[in-house]
């Protein structure tokens, strides 16, 4: 009876995950777990490597956060337990990532070596490696502006190459890549519009934005908002 009671006390209070989130402490290389209903800090989590540049995506059910660190680290954080569940170093220098809309795949955009790598969201097992080779194929561009799109697709831009690639990862070990070339000079970031239809990339090497209609990617990239 006493044992049961003690065990009962040790159980943390039940809670939902919908208001949990992480804050990256870039210089300290730590993350803070927060809840946004009471606006409280719940825990501080270490061991995520170099977070000088980092970004986060959340699992569909809100239980896990995936942190993409500067040092190429991909860390899966359990928000309910406030702990690191899994961690892999998957590149030398990465910029961010995305989670597929069904929640099964994590895609990471890398600067060094340039490309995108796809992982199983549950286990972080590597599934595919997509080098961002361009031109004569000997150089690899830095990958920027990665985002999820409908189906198991990911869209991203190649900085040095001036290309936008759409990857269909419905067969994650054999992803299909569609390349849109000559989209403009040095795309440096991108996003999908809230209705999920258009991918927009900002250009660094010239003034302007380019837009790809994900319902009709064959039409290529169109210039919008001339600088």
């Amino acid at each position: 009876m006493i044992v049961l009671l003690l065990a009962g006390c040790a159980q943390p209070a039940l809670r939902g995950t919908g208001d949990l989130g992480l804050i990256i402490e870039r210089a300290a290389g730590r993350v803070k777990l927060i809840e946004t209903t009471g606006r409280r800090e719940l825990a501080s989590i270490e061991g995520l490597g170099d977070l000088a540049h980092a970004s986060v995506v959340y699992s569909r059910d809100g239980r896990y956060a995936y942190v993409f660190g500067r040092d190429g680290g991909l860390t899966k954080v359990d928000l309910l337990r406030a702990s690191v569940e899994r961690r892999v170093i998957q590149a030398g220098n990465s910029i961010g990532g995305a989670i597929s809309q069904d929640g099964r795949l994590i895609a990471v955009a890398n600067y060094e070596p340039g490309g995108v790598r796809i992982f199983d969201a549950a286990t972080l097992e590597p599934l595919a490696d997509i080098p961002s080779a361009y031109g004569d194929g000997t150089r690899r561009a830095k990958v920027v502006g990665i985002t999820d799109a409908s189906g198991s697709r990911f869209v991203f831009s190649l900085f040095e190459a001036g290309e936008i690639w759409i990857v269909d990862a419905s067969a994650p070990r054999a992803p299909r890549v569609e390349k849109i070339r000559n989209i403009g000079k040095q795309p440096y970031d991108g996003f999908v519009t809230p209705n999920g239809r258009h991918y927009i990339a900002g250009l660094f090497g010239e003034d302007g934005l380019v837009l790809v209609d994900l319902w009709n990617p064959e039409a290529g990239a169109r210039r919008i908002l001339e600088g």
Partner: protein, 109 residues
Amino acid sequence: MGDRVVFAAVFWVAWMVPAGALDNPVEPRRGELVNMVRQDCGSCHGLTMKGGLGPALLPSNISAKDPEQLRFVILHGRRGTAMPPWSRFLTDAEAAWVVELLRTGLPRD
């Protein structure tokens, strides 16, 4: 040929420098410069200078390079790349000081 370009460039920089700009920066300007290097340069070269969109600028990456050329790149950027010119924000002496800062490594917080 390359030498001549660099020579001409350095000469041009020296000629551009306003009076007084050759003085070494003193506090509180030094603190401002450290902050600028971390935050502004760091947006491309990484908060800890380990590289990002721009190459790593740790002592091991740049100590073998000519400080004059590094200073020139900082002041005037590198055409055709993402490296922008900073001559509107840094004097010649401040750029030289930033090169020294990078060569010795940024102080810990």
